[in-house]
């Protein structure tokens, strides 16, 4: 992936560039709002990382002008402002996801990959999702694996749907809490782990090749056996 970071803190930018490079991505860096805007307009990037507070031009205005110029590149907003209002404002301005500083690198990477993927494939209108022999019918709200029907509770269904839409990529616990429960805080106990192991019991039990994997230190990933 080609990624543009618009971030005024040199150390954060450096650490992000290294991290992204190690994960096989190429990252360009702009330190001010105006520079970032012209680079974003000129280059072809798979995703942008935009800090909210930038010298010259603040992040939200930058995103707004990008959207006005019909640049559809997905944007991940980074911000030290973590209040609900701030997040809503960021997404309204045209951001696609919002991450509060400080963050874990694995969290940023997972979100970035999810965003870039969303920017490419337009399967939002699909009525059927499929990973290997796991099949989800979004209209009938049924799930089958190897032709056998699996009974899921409504929330389990949404959890699986989220994982299937992000198949092949790492999904973090916070992404699941936000995407499936609409919670933007972390409950103390690792409740998500238990939900996942329940789901795993329903879709992977009795099958030789598991689909739902735990990615150590990062989250989960649903993928077809290679």
């Amino acid at each position: 992936m080609r990624i543009l970071m618009i971030e005024d803190d040199a150390e954060t930018a450096d650490y992000l560039r290294k991290g992204l490079g190690e994960s096989g991505h190429v990252a360009d860096h702009a330190a001010t709002g105006p520079d970032g805007l012209s680079m974003a307009l000129a280059g072809t990037y798979d995703a942008l990382i935009v800090d909210r507070m930038l010298p010259g031009l603040d992040g939200l205005t930058l995103i707004k002008s990008l959207r006005e110029q019909k640049v559809p590149t997905p944007v991940l907003i980074l911000s030290a402002l973590g209040q609900v209002n701030d997040r809503v404002r960021g997404l309204k301005a045209g951001g696609d996801d919002y991450l509060i500083k400080p963050f874990a690198f694995s969290e940023l990477l997972a979100r970035l990959e999810a965003l870039a993927r969303r920017g490419g494939a337009e399967d939002a209108v699909a009525t059927r999702l499929m990973i290997a022999d796991l099949e989800m019918d979004l209209l009938a709200r049924t799930v089958r694996r190897g032709g056998r029907k699996i009974d899921l509770q409504p929330r389990e269904f949404r959890l699986l749907e989220y994982l299937m839409r992000h198949a092949g990529h790492v999904v973090t616990r916070t992404m699941l809490l936000e995407g499936v429960w609409d919670y933007h805080f972390d409950p103390q106990t690792n409740v998500i782990d238990v939900h996942i192991s329940r789901l795993r019991g329903k879709i992977d039990k009795g099958h030789a090749a598991p689909l739902l994997h735990t990615v150590r230190g990062a989250g989960y990933s649903l993928r077809a056996p290679s």
């Binding site: 209040q83 609900v84 429960w181 103390q188 106990t189 409740v191 939900h195």
Partner: protein
């Protein structure tokens, strides 16, 4: 400077305007009185003269010229306000107290105003006279007049009164204006001085309220209320930052200690990595502690209390319970949820959800296998009640207040993970939402009750739906 202020003040301008209005109406009133009095006097004079002339003409008609002359002589001899003159057709005087036919009357037809000079006690005095001219049969001419000094007197009285009242109006208006605007300016200046004092840093200062209940009092009262609110928020924020700084010291000190320890030992890849992982864990812990503290501080200070929305408490509670259901099941605990419809409260959805998960989290952590947790939402006419009960050990009555403080964890919980901030957030959120928080004995177990004021307005919730769907 001060005078310029005074003249520029709106109170003074108002007084000036009133003064002009008052003066003009006094003027108009006096003019009206004057004109109508004059008219009455004029008519009276003319009526009297008219009657006199008719009387004299009758005398002439019935008893002849000699008699008329006699009567006129008799009347003229009485020193008074009346003037008579009888002449022959050639205007030669026959009788009366005027020496000659006046020039003003020469061309005149019947009514005429004259000025007559009369010798009174050796002094020439001129009189204004209103007179009627009459021609008798035989061409004799008769003039009957009356002194109009009364009219002149009244005029001078009115003019004098006019002068005085205008002077009084201007004087009173000026004095009143100055006094009133001084008073208003003084109070405005007081407000200005007080706010300058506040801007200079003394937030405890307040506007004086006189108790008269006037506009200035109302202004001062609402300004004071605003200042109270600002002071409350600022004190809250100050306390928050103070305690934040204090509370963050210990995890950061631990972190630093861990790093120093690792650096003091000789390098060894495996051990260093372990130390790094440990440091990362500690840093994460410190960050999450920081987040919780910040959230608690903001809720305590009431930040965000302005944009509460009407939401269904039962739905929030159900979602939270559902999130914990698998955890409870795994721990061998039954999680029951009982809700009632229409449990609308004004709340910040996210903080409310987090508070409820905190409570359920505590219940799950403290309830032994085989126990039961009940999450219930009920409502009365004026309130919505959330009750979370468990069958664990409960909290002794003496500790029920203490556990709400930051970092307080009871002895029995030392082995379980936690920072001791869960209940502190619940307490702060309750305060922010105007909800009562109560910790009780479920016998056995703990029961926590949160009583919210009900938000009955369906209109509000429709509005909220519109907002969330937008």
């Amino acid at each position: 400077m001060r005078r310029a202020n005074l003249i520029k003040s709106s109170a003074f301008r108002l007084t000036l305007l009133y003064m002009i209005l008052f003066g003009t109406s006094v003027l108009g009133l006096l003019a009206f009185i004057y004109l109508s009095t004059i008219a009455v006097i004029d008519r009276q004079t003319e009526d009297t003269i008219d009657a006199e002339v008719r009387g004299l003409a009758e005398q002439y008609r019935e008893q002849g010229l000699a008699r008329l002359i006699e009567v006129i002589r008799l009347r003229s001899s009485i020193e008074g306000q009346d003037y008579y003159l009888l002449t022959d057709p050639n205007l030669r005087p026959l009788a009366g107290n005027l020496s000659a036919w006046p020039k003003e009357a020469e061309g005149a037809k019947d009514w005429v105003d004259l000025t007559v000079t009369r010798n009174s006690k050796g002094q020439e005095v001129s009189h204004d006279v209103r007179a009627q001219l009459f021609t008798l049969s035989g061409g004799y001419r008769l003039l009957v007049g009356r002194d109009t000094h009364e009219r002149t007197n009244i005029r001078s009285i009115v003019v004098k009164a006019l002068g005085w009242s205008v002077a009084a109006a201007v004087g009173l208006g000026l004095v009143g204006g100055i006094v009133i605007s001084r008073r208003m300016l003084r109070r405005v200046e007081h407000v200005a001085r007080t706010s300058q004092g506040i801007m200079a840093g003394d937030l405890s200062r307040r506007m004086a309220v006189t108790g008269s209940g006037d506009e200035f009092d109302r202004l001062a009262t609402s300004l004071n209320a605003m200042l109270d609110q600002i002071e409350r928020l600022m004190t809250g924020m100050r306390l928050a930052t103070d305690s934040l700084a204090h509370d963050l010291r210990s995890p950061l000190t631990r972190l630093r200690g861990r790093i120093e320890l690792a650096l003091r030992q000789p390098p060894q890849a495996a051990r260093d990595r372990e130390a790094l992982a440990d440091v990362l864990r500690q840093a994460e812990l410190a960050l999450s502690t920081f987040d919780s503290l910040l959230k608690i501080a903001m809720a305590e200070a009431g930040v965000g209390a302005a944009d509460l929305r009407v939401i269904d408490l039962a739905a929030v509670a159900r979602d939270a319970a559902e999130l914990y259901e698998p955890v409870a099941e795994e721990a061998g605990i039954r999680l029951r949820i009982e809700t009632q419809g229409g449990a609308m409260v004004r709340a910040q959805p996210e903080l409310l959800a987090q508070s409820i998960t905190n409570l359920i989290d505590n219940a799950v952590k403290n309830t032994p296998s085989g126990g039961e947790i009940t999450v219930a939402v009920g409502l009365s006419r004026s309130s919505v009640t959330l009750r979370i009960g468990d069958t664990g050990p409960g909290i002794p009555a003496v500790d029920r207040q203490r556990v709400l403080d930051r970092f307080v964890r009871l002895e029995e919980s030392r082995s379980t993970p936690g920072a001791g901030l869960g209940l502190s957030l619940v307490a702060a959120v309750a305060k922010m939402h105007g909800a009562q928080l109560h910790l009780g004995d479920a016998g056995p177990g703990l029961v926590i009750t949160l009583i919210f004021p009900i938000a009955a307005s369906a209109h509000d919730s429709a509005e909220w739906r519109a907002v969330t769907e937008a």
